[in-house]
């Protein structure tokens, strides 16, 4: 009897200690995860804060009206970035959306579409500097375009086409089959169904993809160094044989300039880039948020 009691007591004690150690291990696990999350948040806050304070100490509003030639402004870089990005939006938009439409809507799923989709995915994994170098060799040197707007447009566009294509394809694949069937039941022609029903409901997804592509192209430096080069003067709409300035260049090259007014421009440009990217990310979120309410999927699923 006494023996049995001690065993039972020992068992209970053992069970207790196991329970405690499991509890401790559980808390440890989630503690480690919380620390990881902190290490994700800290760099974001630190980068935004670091760049903002750096720029705030040297910020001048007149940088919007002077060019870098005067060492007092970024006007040429700002105009150049908008010029480059606008062109990329058109080229990458047309090609990327076309690519997504073909893979998702026009072609039947086959080996061909798999190859095309893989090519686009692989393209998105190639380092941007390789794009820049190929653009330099093929467009700037071989085709004699020189450092030019056109070379920058083409190189950056192919850099971001995979993102536009992927999001277009995703958005189209999420349009419910019932929409297409409904259109056909009304006697609409195939192209009409695509234009009026399918594409229209896919617009938010496509827009988000385009916005992300623009954010990427605004932030690229490496491919532009080789294709657009840099100019201290306002860019023109001349397509070839004219270097184009852009905002990432001062960030990359001016930061260790001995001249204070020039090195300050690096921080200012970094802040401008950060603000532009933040605005684009918020715009993408806004598109998703406002359209989710009226999303066809949501209506059909009865959510």
């Amino acid at each position: 009897m006494a023996v049995g009691e001690t065993t039972a007591g020992a068992l209970a004690a053992q069970r207790n200690s196991i329970a405690t150690s499991r509890k401790i291990r559980n808390h440890l696990w989630w503690g480690v995860c919380s620390v990881s999350l902190a290490f994700v948040i800290i760099p974001v806050v630190w980068i935004v804060w670091g760049i903002a304070t750096q720029a705030a100490s040297v910020w001048r509003w007149n940088l919007f009206i002077h060019t870098t030639a005067t060492q007092n402004g970024l006007l040429n870089a700002i105009v150049g970035t908008f010029l480059i990005t606008a062109g990329v939006a058109v080229i990458a938009g047309v090609v990327g959306i076309g690519c997504g439409v073909y893979i998702s809507e026009v072609a039947r799923p086959s080996v061909t579409t798999t190859i095309l989709r893989s090519a686009s995915e692989i393209l998105s994994g190639i380092p941007s500097i390789v794009f820049g170098y190929v653009g330099y060799v093929a467009l700037v040197v071989y085709l004699h375009w020189g450092f030019s707007l056109l070379a920058a447009w083409l190189v950056l566009s192919f850099l971001v086409v995979p993102y536009v294509a992927k999001s277009t394809e995703l958005a189209l694949s999420q349009v419910p089959l019932a929409y297409r069937e409904g259109g056909e039941a009304l006697g609409m022609h195939r192209t009409r169904v695509l234009r009026s029903l399918v594409m229209r409901s896919a617009i938010p997804g496509i827009a988000t993809g385009l916005i992300i592509a623009l954010a990427i192209s605004i932030g690229e430096t490496a491919p532009l160094l080789y294709t657009a080069n840099w100019s201290d003067h306002l860019p023109t709409t001349q397509l070839v044989h004219a270097s184009v300035p852009y905002l990432t260049y001062p960030v990359y090259t001016f930061y260790n300039e001995p001249l204070a007014s020039l090195s300050a421009l690096a921080s200012d440009a970094a802040l401008l880039l950060l603000v532009l990217v933040l605005l684009l990310i918020l715009a993408a979120r806004l598109v998703v948020h406002t359209t989710q309410k009226y999303s066809p999927n949501r209506a059909l699923r009865g959510k």
Partner: protein, 378 residues
């Protein structure tokens, strides 16, 4: 429309199940909208055919362009690099000397290539720098990204998860030049002032002895570069892991919970097995991004082409060298230096291509048809 060799929708020329010839106008039913939707006059039919053909043709051309671009890039790089490949041989992978040569002496010929006296191109330090910075980035970034994703999916309410999603998007969206600037003006000096003094007193035992040594004030070097890279690949890995974890069926988790497991044990038995392969794929994808990162590495790594002997020493990567060496390369009148940069770009492209294909194969196998936002970067 079958005469185009296209899948017919089957609804051509039919209304209400009654076959009609396209030329026959619809009976005036008062449903004029139907008439306006379906053009019936020959002109409109022709217009519709033009629209259809232009949609199909245009989208097909767009769809082929990325493939053409991919092949063209490989071909252009290879053709450009041929003289450099003949001159450098395998030495580019093993040599450590990088010398454009003497531009003022007479040109020399060897291996059928004109080059400068003393020209030698060895990329071994660049290869080591690329692999080491990426390795540090994965070792530091992977656990942080995965841990954060686990907490976000399993414990945090949706509103907070959405805010953290925004943080990840911002981190992924910050231009690499801006991260580089932060690394060189803020992060590097901070590490050199507060972390490296402490870290450099590691015991003199294997592995840890790489932490012993001198560091510079700006913190430029291998470890800083690796840590900056870690920040750049965390969003890719974290977002993918998060989306994978959200696909784990609730019932399986509930089953494990019903057995009395703690939430950590549930995770290890259910979710961890479910997402394991996908996370490896995401990590390899992050590795691909780290290997190809250029501007941030050009700013933070130090741009020094020697094999580093401790973890603080300046280094350079293949991608950074292509940017940093261009000005020097353009001074080579024989053009061999620029061609060697093409060879470097080719090496980099082959490395990242294989890494990315590997990652996508792994992720696809893990996802089994589920659509993942992998590679979207956001």
């Amino acid at each position: 429309m079958t005469e185009d060799g296209l899948p017919s929708s089957g609804s051509e020329g039919t209304a209400g199940g009654i076959p009609q010839s396209p030329q026959t106008p619809l009976p005036p039913h008062g449903m004029q909208s139907t008439t306006s939707m379906e053009p019936t006059s020959p002109l409109r039919l022709k217009l519709r055919r033009v629209t259809e053909i232009s949609i199909i043709g245009g989208s097909a051309i767009s769809a082929v362009l990325p493939l053409i671009a991919l092949v063209a890039m490989l071909v252009v790089l290879f053709l450009e690099a041929i003289p450099a490949i003949r001159f450098n041989g395998w030495g580019i992978l093993t040599g450590s000397t990088w010398n454009v040569g003497n531009a003022y002496a007479a040109f020399q010929h060897s291996h059928g290539v004109t080059h400068l006296v003393g020209a030698a191109y060895g990329a071994w330090p660049l290869i080591v720098g690329t692999l080491l910075t990426s390795a540090i980035a994965i070792i530091v970034g992977l656990p942080i990204a995965v841990g954060a994703a686990i907490l976000v999916v399993e414990k945090l309410p949706n509103a907070i998860a959405s805010v953290i999603g925004l943080f990840l998007e911002v981190l992924a969206g910050v231009p690499s030049a801006v991260i580089g600037l932060w690394g060189i003006l803020t992060f590097g000096p901070w590490l050199a002032a507060h972390i490296y003094p402490w870290l450099s007193h590691m015991p003199n035992v294997p592995v840890l002895n790489y932490f012993r040594g001198n560091y510079n004030r700006a913190g430029q070097g291998l470890l800083t570069a690796g840590l900056v890279l870690a920040a750049m690949i965390i969003p890719i890995i974290a977002a993918t892991t998060r989306d994978l974890l959200r696909q784990v069926p609730e019932a399986t988790k509930e089953g494990a919970e019903a057995l009395g497991m703690t939430s950590a044990e549930v995770f290890k038995t259910v979710q961890a097995r479910w997402v394991r392969t996908g996370v490896i794929g995401a990590a390899v994808l992050g590795l691909g991004r780290a290997l190809g990162e250029t501007i941030a590495m050009a700013l933070v790594a130090g741009g020094i082409q020697y094999v580093p002997s401790n973890i603080y020493q300046g280094a350079s990567t293949i991608a950074a060298a292509i940017v940093l060496q261009l000005d020097a390369a353009l001074t080579d009148p024989t053009g061999l230096a620029v061609k060697t940069l093409a060879e470097l770009a080719l090496i980099l492209m082959v490395i990242t291509l294989s890494v990315n294909v590997l990652a996508r194969v792994i992720v696809r196998r893990a996802a089994k048809g589920a659509v993942l936002p992998v590679g979207a970067g956001f």
